[in-house]
Structure formats: structure tokens, C-alpha cells
């Protein structure tokens, strides 16, 4: 009995469970009956091109966007009337900053805490810890408008942790940041995950998803087009190696039949060749002086582009 309970609450407990989740705006269906579930303690990635429906899905989880159909259990609760109770256990880093410009760094945290009915000495100590955690202690009394983009993002993360949430939703947490700021945020997110919290993250940076996420879904046009761990997705959908050939590719005729099987895709001035054995092709290309070639292991970005296409969105 005891072990059964343990199994239920520690291993298979689902923080989010969506079935047939659907959202329409007028004629447009932007989330089309998606199914997914997020187990407790995971970092779960939601990827997809612009307009795929990521933010809409996150808003439905928060209960601020009403769904048109489907089931959506958060912490086992599926009841719009309980949305405020559910939100009390969630932290949110929104896609666009919405820090309060009328307040300083520390006031932003204390006022936000008051929205969770958190007051007093305990929250003061928590704010001190959070400022330390996000390396903003020396900025406590700075106005928001003079903070750098990275500092604002860190403050938003501190703010999302104010209520000691079980689930943290991050909508593009590192968009627009420099590599230093991004690495700093990655390390903090890993720490948060290690402390046992569940992360749900959207991003356009495949490297970010590969580094942080245990499990990923790729959305396109409101559908889920793939799901799995970053490694599994790469193994399943893409050959092991990629050869990128840039330059006057049209003017050169390469007879690909003489090489091991190779899936090819032309994007702009670049020809992508996906293959499990790149050596014969590379050897041949070496003799073609004017072409620039690059060989690398396949990654999540290749999966993303294969599944969602190369055309622009929006």
C-alpha cells in the first residue's frame, strides 16, 4: 500500500494532463485537440514556429484563456472555478516583460507577493534569497526602466518563484538575451529543476531545449507533430550527420547516387544533405574547391526544420 502510494505521488503523478485541448479565435482554430502530459519534476519543452499556439496553450493552462473543448487537468484539477487556486501553485515568466515600472526591483517582488496574499517577515526573507539567487541583490532599489534586458528577465524569474510554485511556466525566457545572460538563466533553471519543481518552457532556441528539457513536444499550426526526449527525436527523425553545402550549388552537378543514401533539402543558398555516412560525400566535395562545406552531427534544429518546414510563418 505504502509503495503504491509512493509510486503514484512521486513517479507517475502528472502535473499537467491535456486531452483534446482546443482553442478557436473566430474562424481560426489555433490549438487543435492536442494531448500531452507533464510528469512532476520534469522540464517539459513546447517548441513550434511563430503562431504555432504555444502561448495560447500556456494561457489555457493558467486558466486565463478559456478553452473551447477538451480536458485539462492541472494538479489533478479540471475546474475553471478553481483556477485561482491552481494559479496560486504556479509561477509564470511571460513572453513579454510585464514588470511594474512604477516600482523598484524589490517593490516589484513584494507587491507581486501581495497578490498571492503573502505578506510579512517570511516573504521579506524569501525576497532576499530570490534577489541573491538571481544576482540582483545590489539592484534591490533600482527602478525597472534602467535595468538591462538580462536583469529584467532575471527579476521576472525571481518574481515567478515568489509563491514557491510547484510548476513554473516560462514563455521564451531567454529571447533577446546575450549569451552570458542566457547561460546564467540556464544554470538557474537547472537549479530550479533540481530542487524538484516542474518546468514548462517554450523556446525558439533548439540548443536551449536540448540542454534543459527532458521531454519535448513540437507544435505546428495548433497540432503536435512530434514528442519525445531531444535525443530520441533526433534519432527518430534525422540521419546521424548533416553536410551543408554552400555556394554555387546549382552550377555543380553532383551525382548523389554514387554515395550512401542521402536526404537532400535546398534552403536559400544552402543544400542540406542528411546521411548516416558522410565520408564518401565529403571526400568528393573536397575536390570541388569553390564550394563551402560543413559537416556536423544532426541536432534538434534539423528535426524542427524537417517537421515544421522551411517556410516563414506569420
Amino acid at each position: 500500500m505504502a509503495t503504491q502510494r509512493r509510486t503514484k505521488s512521486f513517479e507517475t503523478e502528472l502535473v499537467i494532463q491535456a486531452r483534446g485541448l482546443t482553442k478557436r479565435y473566430g474562424e481560426a482554430t489555433v490549438v487543435r485537440g492536442i494531448d500531452f502530459s507533464v510528469p512532476r519534476g520534469q522540464c517539459f519543452g513546447l517548441l513550434g514556429p511563430n503562431g504555432a499556439g504555444k502561448t495560447t496553450t500556456l494561457r489555457m493552462i493558467l486558466g486565463v484563456t478559456p478553452r473551447d473543448s477538451g480536458e485539462l487537468q492541472i494538479f489533478g484539477v479540471d475546474d475553471p472555478k478553481q483556477a485561482h487556486r491552481v494559479r496560486a501553485r504556479i509561477g509564470v515568466v511571460p513572453q513579454l516583460d510585464n514588470l511594474d515600472p512604477d516600482f523598484s526591483v524589490i517593490e516589484n517582488l513584494s507587491v507581486y507577493a501581495s497578490f498571492f496574499s503573502l505578506h510579512g517577515a517570511k516573504i521579506k526573507e524569501r525576497i532576499r534569497q530570490l534577489l541573491e539567487f538571481t544576482e540582483l541583490s545590489d539592484r534591490a532599489h533600482t527602478r525597472i526602466d534602467v535595468l538591462s534586458g538580462g536583469m529584467k528577465r532575471r527579476l521576472t524569474i525571481a518574481r515567478a518563484l515568489i509563491n514557491d510554485p510547484e510548476l513554473i511556466i516560462l514563455d521564451e525566457p531567454t529571447t533577446g538575451l546575450d549569451p552570458q545572460a542566457r547561460h546564467m538563466i540556464w544554470s538557474r533553471l537547472r537549479q530550479i529543476r533540481q530542487s524538484g519543481k516542474t518546468l514548462l518552457l517554450t523556446t525558439h532556441y533548439m540548443e536551449e531545449a536540448e540542454r534543459l528539457c527532458d521531454d519535448i513536444i513540437i507544435m505546428d499550426n495548433g497540432h503536435i507533430v512530434a514528442q519525445g526526449s531531444p535525443n530520441a527525436l533526433v534519432k527518430k527523425h534525422i540521419e546521424a550527420h548533416v553536410v551543408e553545402i554552400r555556394g554555387a550549388t546549382e552550377s555543380i552537378s553532383i551525382n548523389f547516387d554514387q554515395f550512401p543514401p542521402c536526404r537532400r533539402q535546398q534552403v536559400g543558398d544552402t543544400l542540406y544533405c542528411y546521411t548516416d555516412d558522410a565520408h564518401p560525400l565529403l571526400a568528393h566535395l573536397e575536390s570541388q574547391g569553390e564550394l563551402i562545406t560543413l559537416q556536423r552531427p544532426a541536432n534538434l534544429e534539423d528535426v524542427f526544420l524537417k517537421l515544421t518546414g522551411h517556410e516563414f510563418r506569420d
Binding site: P94, N98, V111, S117
Partner: protein, 258 residues
């Protein structure tokens, strides 16, 4: 969901408190604006015109005007807060979006905002009442009952202003409401002269306006004359308040809960 009656919850107080904290930071300029204009009316018109007019409705023109201005400035303060400031928080600064990620709902946010609008009216109304008293325009301590009336006027005019914010896509839109509703009320509802001097047809319309009833409560309290039809006047203002509150909540839900 959208058309449901608003839920009232103590969480609204945290929204109210946020605005109090911001106001405290900018207290000086804010008070100056909220008191400066009414004071200009009192000094400029009250003394200037008062010299020619002498008595109006059996009281000094300064008293007559001061009581009208007390009510009208509450209308203005609530309207400006409910439009320019609420819109800034709802759209420009996305403060409501941040609040919606917490246990706060749109119902809580709007209740907190309306409460804050009324509080701001109360603060500047208290200051104007003090100035009017110093100028000798106030007769008797019953005038303190003006303060709850000013709070009520604030609640009443906050709702329509927030409705404007819910429809708006920019600050310019608010000048339609100010020009078409607030300014006519300011001029016609008995701030500057008794409405009995208006043509009967116009009087009938003016009797439907909330500011008219607000002034008919404030004026006797300031001048020390007998208060009449309290139930009617309070009733009209309360009905406006409740209807506007309901639609303010519904329309902001329609805008933010999508």
C-alpha cells in the same frame, strides 16, 4: 462566464493597495493636479463672479460653487483615473496581465481599481473641503458627511471610465467620452447655477444624470441647508454605480480573458 455577475473577494484589496503604494510615491504632483484645478475655480470664479452674483439659492456664490466643485472634481478624478491610468495598466504596462498570472481574477482587479478610484477622490476631496473651509465657504460640521458622498461619487464614475478603457485602443478615444459626457454634465448638472434656471425639457434630462443628484446631496451639507430626498439621490447614484460596475467587469473580461 463572461456575463456572470462579478465575484467580490478580499483579494481585490491587494490591487487597491498596489495603487495606494504607487500614489504615495507620486503624492505631491498628484495632489497638486487634483486640487489645483478646483482651487482655481473656487478662487477665480467664486471670488470673481461671486462679487457680481452675491447670493445664489440663498447662499453665498462661493458656497454654491464650492459644493458643486466638490462633487464635480470627484467625477473628474474618478473618470481620469478610470480611463488614462487604468488603460495604462491594462494595455501599455500590461500590469493586469501580470496580475492575471496570480490568484487575482479580472473581477478582483476591477473591484480593486474602482475602490482605488473612489479612494483617490476621497483624498483630493478631503483636501478641497479643507481649502473651501479655510476660504469660509463651508457652514457647519455636518459638511464632514460630504466625504462618504464623495467616495460614492468616485465609485459611480469609475465604472463608466473603466468601460471606456475596455473599449479603447489608445488615449485619444477618451476625449470622446470627456467631451460628450463629462463636460456636458459639468456644465449642466448645477455646478455653476441651479438647474431650475434651465429650460424644462433640458431639466428633465439633467435630472437623469448622476452628477445632478450628487450635487443635491453635497450642497445642503456644505451650506447647512436642509437635506431633502436623500433616498432618491443616493439611490440614483447607487444604481448607476452597480450597473456600471457590472458592465466594467464584463467588458474587461471580454478584453482580457480571451
Amino acid at each position: 462566464m463572461t456575463w456572470q455577475l462579478p465575484h467580490i473577494n478580499f483579494r481585490a484589496l491587494s490591487v487597491w493597495r498596489r495603487n495606494v503604494l504607487v500614489w504615495r510615491k507620486l503624492m505631491g504632483p498628484s495632489l497638486l493636479i487634483n486640487i489645483g484645478e478646483p482651487l482655481l475655480y473656487l478662487l477665480g470664479l467664486g471670488y470673481g463672479l461671486g462679487l457680481f452674483i452675491g447670493q445664489m439659492s440663498d447662499m453665498s456664490y462661493l458656497t454654491f460653487l464650492a459644493s458643486g466643485i466638490l462633487a464635480a472634481s470627484a467625477m473628474n478624478t474618478a473618470s481620469f483615473e478610470g480611463m488614462f491610468s487604468v488603460y495604462t495598466r491594462m494595455v501599455t504596462q500590461r500590469t493586469y496581465e501580470a496580475m492575471q498570472a496570480t490568484p487575482l481574477s479580472v473581477d478582483d482587479i476591477i473591484a480593486g481599481e474602482i475602490l482605488w478610484c473612489a479612494t483617490k477622490c476621497l483624498i483630493s476631496g478631503t483636501a478641497i473641503l479643507a481649502v473651501a473651509t479655510a476660504l469660509g465657504a463651508v457652514h457647519g460640521t455636518q459638511a464632514l458627511f460630504v466625504l462618504p458622498i464623495i467616495f460614492l461619487i468616485g465609485l459611480c464614475f469609475a465604472g463608466p471610465a473603466i468601460i471606456m478603457s475596455a473599449f479603447s485602443h489608445g488615449y485619444d478615444f477618451f476625449y470622446y467620452y470627456l467631451t460628450l459626457f463629462i463636460t456636458p454634465m459639468f456644465i449642466l448638472s448645477g455646478v455653476f447655477y441651479p438647474i431650475s434656471s434651465l429650460p424644462t425639457g433640458v431639466q428633465a434630462v439633467v435630472q437623469l444624470l448622476p452628477l445632478t443628484h450628487a450635487i443635491q446631496l453635497v450642497r445642503p451639507l456644505v451650506s447647512g441647508q436642509a437635506l431633502t430626498d436623500v433616498g432618491l439621490h443616493v439611490g440614483v447614484i447607487v444604481v448607476y454605480t452597480l450597473v456600471a460596475y457590472y458592465f466594467a467587469v464584463v467588458l474587461v473580461r471580454k478584453r482580457l480573458v480571451v
